[in-house]
């Protein structure tokens, strides 16, 4: 999904600061949960124990157990770690690639610019999930496949915004003066381009993370993403769906976690935008 389309949500005036803080708190709490609980309650997320199938919470597994007697809390924490790190890595790499190509295209102009824009346009014409799905069938290692696929999807937004911003600035008197004084491209980027780009970065990163987490979970849910027994949010949902009647809480654990991660990221992005 593009940032433009998300922006509609952010238009409500007045209480944006509080919703943005709510978003930061939510995302922060979830990251803390993913990092700390495996240390506080060390349990192997793949260790089965058929005595504990759908057993209630105990000290070793405060969220209870799943259909194979694995600790739900351990699985949830590891699933969140996986999704957040793939999403974070994809956002980081796509921002570096997108900004670099965007600056290059706007600065060089000519055929470099035309070629870069053509490549970006062609990737834009392919729905993101489709691209991630096809790359995941090519690259053998699943986390790597998601990272590559999501980077291919997410870099476009960075590229387009960077290119537009730099094109606006490149002929400004300030940039011209810097270059006449003999400053190199790195100084010009830091001094002139980055201040124009920085305010957009938080929004783009939050939307990018949300898109990435949604794609990983969606493909996991339809069994073409991460493979069992890896703990992953979408995979946990599809594994626990047949046991909904026996253990509704077990199914709701990954559902609620996914909802709050995405809500937090959307609120952060919405707040930063307005």
């Amino acid at each position: 999904m593009s940032a433009v389309e998300h922006s509609a949500i952010a238009q409500q005036r007045g209480n944006w600061a509080s919703t943005s803080w709510l978003g930061f708190t939510l995302v922060g709490a979830i990251i803390l949960f993913a990092l700390v609980t495996p240390l506080a309650f060390p349990a192997d997320p793949a260790k089965q124990s058929l005595r504990h199938v759908f057993a209630g919470p105990d000290l070793a597994a405060p969220f209870g157990y799943d259909h194979l007697g694995r600790s739900l809390m351990a699985r949830l924490a590891h699933a969140l770690r996986l999704s957040l790190s793939i999403a974070g890595a994809a956002v980081l790499s796509s921002s570096v690639v997108g900004i670099a190509i965007g600056v290059l295209a706007a600065w060089q102009g000519g055929w470099v610019d035309r070629f870069a824009s053509l490549v970006a346009d062609s990737f834009l014409a392919l729905p993101g999930l489709l691209l991630v799905l096809m790359v995941s069938a090519i690259v053998p290692l699943q986390p790597l496949a998601f990272w590559v696929g999501l980077t291919l999807v997410l870099w476009i937004e960075y590229f387009r915004l960077t290119r537009a911003a730099v094109q606006r600035l490149i002929n400004s008197p300030a940039v011209e003066a810097s270059r006449l004084l003999g400053f190199g491209p790195i100084y010009v980027f830091r001094r002139h381009f980055w201040p124009a780009l920085a305010p957009m970065m938080l929004t783009l990163a939050a939307f990018g993370m949300a898109t990435a987490i949604m794609s990983i979970a969606a493909l996991g849910f339809v069994s073409v993403g991460m493979r069992p027994p890896t703990p992953e949010l979408g995979l946990m949902m599809v594994e626990l769906l047949p046991y909904y009647r026996e253990a509704p809480f077990a199914l709701m654990t990954p559902v609620i976690a996914t909802f709050f991660v995405l809500l937090g990221l959307n609120l952060v992005a919405g707040g930063a935008r307005s």
């Binding site: 990737f123 999930l129 069938a137 690259v139 979408g234 009647r245 559902v255 995405l262």
Partner: protein, 311 residues
């Protein structure tokens, strides 16, 4: 106008090329002996032997060099020759013809439901910006966009099919089977279009020409039809165009969840079985479909606001 159509046509070609390259890479990246894998897909992993693999290798001409294979692959794609499914052995075109129909039915139903829910609610909220409807709509649509489509489908199955037993959770052929998958897709779309309609309407309703329309004595209905509708039309249609990507991505995921015999379901199955010709054809249908939908949006915005053409 002609330029816009030409741009979309070029885009469609590039999409086809991209999918051609990706599926070719997919073919090459398959682990192990490709002939063995295809034979296993056809006859089952227990029944496959070297003779069967050799027969497949002869039949599909798998011994040629990578570059020759790529040009053959690409030539076939340009002639729209998708070949045969390596699993069922039937021509791919035959397989996707029915699936395309099923997908179009589902997507059409979803779009219709979302247009019925989203824009009217958004317009009502926008007319009274800051009112109770506006505020509750903001909360609902913020919550809805934090629920990925597949999770919405999951929740609807759990609540409507398992708890209440009102509707079948999956299947195809009756009207009842339409309701859950189409509603799932529609709710996600409606959440966005309601917000866009609300913002556009709030902008128009606070404009001076709208106030003047009221001031000269038009009633609410007249001023909305004469001065509101067309002015909110352009941003609305443009944004619906942007969110069509949600529809195409949604078709892939939602069809798989509800066992809907469409293109998206076929794509996921083909990826799972590494049936590359089917992956190529289904991905191409989805990609070209997306471009075609965008072209339709271009035409529609031009029809609503012809001023763009004169610039």
């Amino acid at each position: 106008m002609i330029k816009a159509i030409g741009y979309r046509a070029a885009q469609a070609l590039i999409v086809a090329a991209l999918i051609g390259v990706l599926t070719f890479l997919m073919m090459r990246a398959l682990p192990g002996d490709i002939a063995f894998r295809i034979a296993a897909g056809r006859y089952g992993y227990d029944a496959v032997n070297a003779a069967a693999a050799e027969a497949v290798r002869q039949e599909l001409n798998l011994d040629q060099s990578a570059l020759a294979a790529f040009f053959q692959w690409f030539g076939d794609l340009l002639r729209l020759d998708f070949g045969r499914s390596v699993i069922s052995g039937r021509p791919v075109v035959e397989e996707i013809r029915h699936q395309l129909g099923a997908s179009l039915q589902l997507a059409g139903a979803a779009l219709a439901i979302s247009l019925f829910i989203g824009p009217p609610l958004g317009v009502l909220a926008g007319l009274r910006a800051g009112g109770w409807l506006d505020r509750s709509l903001l909360v609902v649509s913020t919550a809805l966009r934090s629920v990925p489509q597949f999770m919405l489908g999951l929740l609807l199955i759990v609540i409507v099919s398992i708890q209440l037993r009102w509707l079948p959770p999956a299947g195809y052929g009756q009207v009842a089977h339409f309701i859950l998958p189409a509603t799932t897709l529609a709710l996600g779309l409606a959440a966005v279009s309601a917000r866009v309609a609300r913002d556009a309407m709030a902008g128009v309703a606070s404009s001076s020409y709208y106030a003047f329309g009221r001031w000269k004595g038009l009633d609410e209905g007249q001023v909305f039809r004469r001065h509101g509708l067309r002015n909110i039309g352009v941003p609305l249609v443009t944004f619906i165009g942007l969110q069509l990507v949600m529809l195409v991505e949604g078709v892939v995921v939602i069809e798989s969840i509800f066992a809907w015999p469409g293109i998206g379901h076929a794509l996921v199955h083909a990826i799972f079985g590494r049936d590359v010709p089917m992956v190529q054809a289904t991905a191409l249908m989805l990609g070209i479909g997306f471009v075609a939908l965008n072209a339709l949006v271009d035409l529609l915005t031009h029809w609503i606001d012809p001023r763009g053409a004169q610039r």
